[in-house]
Structures are given as structure tokens and as C-alpha cells.
Symmetry: C2
Subunit: 154 residues, 2 copies
DNA sequence: GTGAGAGCTGAAGTCAGCTCGAGGTCAAGG
DNA sequence: CCTTGACCTCGAGCTGACTTCAGCTCTCAC
């Protein structure tokens, strides 16, 4: 673990694609950590790049930082996570990703037909009710699949 | 166009699934409009439901309200939009939707392998560089497909 | 030793897209 | 007419994920 194994924040910026500000923010939020030089500058272990890759993937799926932190907290403490650890972790997003893809595909397939069709009946419209599941939840907004319900905006 | 063709805001809430507050916000932002009773209450034409369906679909794809407004502004003024008008409009999102689906599928396929793989080379990693396009854009963050670059969060 | 550029902090600001609350007004069934 | 519930406005507040700023310090190649 000599000094050559540690990365400056600038190196992590270059290799992760995240800006300084995001890295510092993630540290404040407890998603990544760094040791410090005697002068107070951050030095990152290489493993942080893998964490950041995971964070980026999770963010791309629309997962919030809180949940990402929870997931990262489930990594084994005390030893370097193995490939299997990461695989297990990322597998937990898999279902969500599938769901999201499915929702977007349903939206795509229903897009032309639905918006123009005039049906706009909550019970029948594929846009509102993809997969022809009829929801009896009462609230119209609940009929959209969860993946599409939250506004996927930045 | 007698009074029976006009909807109260409550009816629009029920039939569109948008809350009052969102409808009023959309009105302020120029996405929908309503006439008023002598007492100042909103009365919506039925066509607003179609606009709202369009807005919901667009939002689900992650399109911002500004752009949605621009699209809606391109509807013919003076006459009720036809099915063809709506189809034309929604077709313009189609490519974006395809792109987004593709990006998510790439992410899904790369998820296990990439996060754990340790490659993390911007040039080779499928997560960073789906479809094996090599980007020479310089900035690491630019390598993610546009659909995944903006954080799809709510 | 020194100069330049990389890094530091904490607080405040930004942005989209709503949401909420207070304090009142309107519409319609009985 | 009266009551009740739906509706109104305006402005402030909220959430998440950062970004920006000012003013200062550290590091390291020369």
C-alpha cells in the first residue's frame, strides 16, 4: 500500500469522469472515502474507481444516492470486495432495470396509437395501463408503472 | 361547445391523474390552458386530456417541460388537432425513446460483467462505451450515451 | 527555494418540477 | 337562502444532486 497505489483527486476525476465537486459531495454523503496527506489533501485507493463505476451505473438507472449508499454499505467491511461481491450488488438492480426497460418498450409501442387514439380511458389505454393490467388503486397516477411514475429528469 | 363539454379542474384531476397543483403549474407554464367562469374558476375543454396524456408520455421519457411546450406549440392553431397531428408529434420522441431503451439494455448487459471486471478502462468498458464506439471526446463523462448521462431521477 | 497549478473548506446558489399553506371565493343541492 | 365542498391566488418551500465561490494552502518539478 505504498504511495504509488494512491490516487489524487485529479486522477480520480480523469479516470472516473466525475468532477471534483461530485467526488467531494459523495464523500460528504458517505459514498466514498479517502485518506488524507499530512497537508489535508485527499488520496484515494484504487478501489474507489470501482465504487464510482457502480455509482454511475446506479444513477443511470435512476437510483438515488441514499439507496446507493445503503447498497455500498452492504459490501464486506475489512476486505477488498471481490468480483462476486460486486456482481451480487449489481444483480440487485437488475430487476429494476428490467422493469424500466419493459416500461419504456410498452410506452414506445403505445406511443403512436395511444396519444392519438382518443381512448384515454384509464381502464383500457396501454399508456396508462401497460400490459393490460387493470389497476383498482383508485388514483389515476398509480396506474403508470413505477419506473415511469417518477419523472426521469435531471 | 356548451357547458357540458367543459370540465372542472376536479374532473381533469380524476381523468388525467395529475394533481391540481400540477395542472395549475402547467397552465402558468403555458402547456395547457383553460377558460374561466364568471367567478374565475377554470373550465377545461376535453382536448386538454389529450395534451395531458402527451405531457405524461413525454415526461416519462424524460423530456423537459420546455421542450414539451415547444412541441405542443407546433400543433395547428385554430383547429382541433387530428390524430395525425398527434402521431406526428409523438413520432418525434420515438428516436429518443429507442435510444434510451438501447442504452438501458446495454447497461443491463454490461452490469454484472463491467462493475466487477476491473477493466474500468474508458476505451474498453461496455458500461462506459456501449456498442464499443470509441469516443475521442476527451471528457470521460461524455462517453456515456446521452440517454444515461442526465440523471434520471425524481 | 520557488512558482504554478492542484487542492482545500464551508456556505450559498442553482435547477426542475412541483407542493403546500393561508386566507379567502364560488357553485350547486336541499 | 344556506351550507358545504370545490376552487381561487400568491408566494414560499421542498427535494436531489450537485455547482460555484472566495480565499486560502499544499505539492512538486525545476
Amino acid at each position: 500500500m505504498d504511495a504509488h497505489d494512491l490516487l489524487t483527486i485529479g486522477e480520480v476525476v480523469d479516470r472516473s469522469g466525475f468532477p471534483h465537486s461530485a467526488l467531494r459531495y459523495y464523500e460528504r454523503e458517505g459514498l466514498v472515502s479517502a485518506t488524507r496527506t499530512s497537508g489535508g489533501q485527499r488520496r484515494y485507493e484504487r478501489g474507489v474507481l470501482r465504487r464510482l463505476a457502480f455509482i454511475r451505473a446506479a444513477r443511470a438507472i435512476g437510483i438515488g444516492l441514499d439507496e446507493v449508499r445503503d447498497a455500498l454499505d452492504r459490501l464486506p467491511a475489512g476486505r477488498t470486495p471481490t468480483k462476486a461481491d460486486w456482481t451480487r450488488l449489481s444483480r440487485s438492480w437488475r430487476g429494476r432495470l428490467d422493469e424500466q426497460i419493459e416500461a419504456l418498450v410498452a410506452l414506445r409501442d403505445g406511443l403512436d396509437s395511444c396519444i392519438g387514439c382518443g381512448c384515454l380511458s384509464l381502464a383500457r389505454c396501454r399508456l396508462w395501463n401497460p400490459g393490460d393490467r387493470i389497476g383498482a388503486q383508485g388514483d389515476g397516477a398509480r396506474l403508470l408503472p413505477p419506473a415511469l411514475r417518477r419523472p426521469p429528469v435531471g
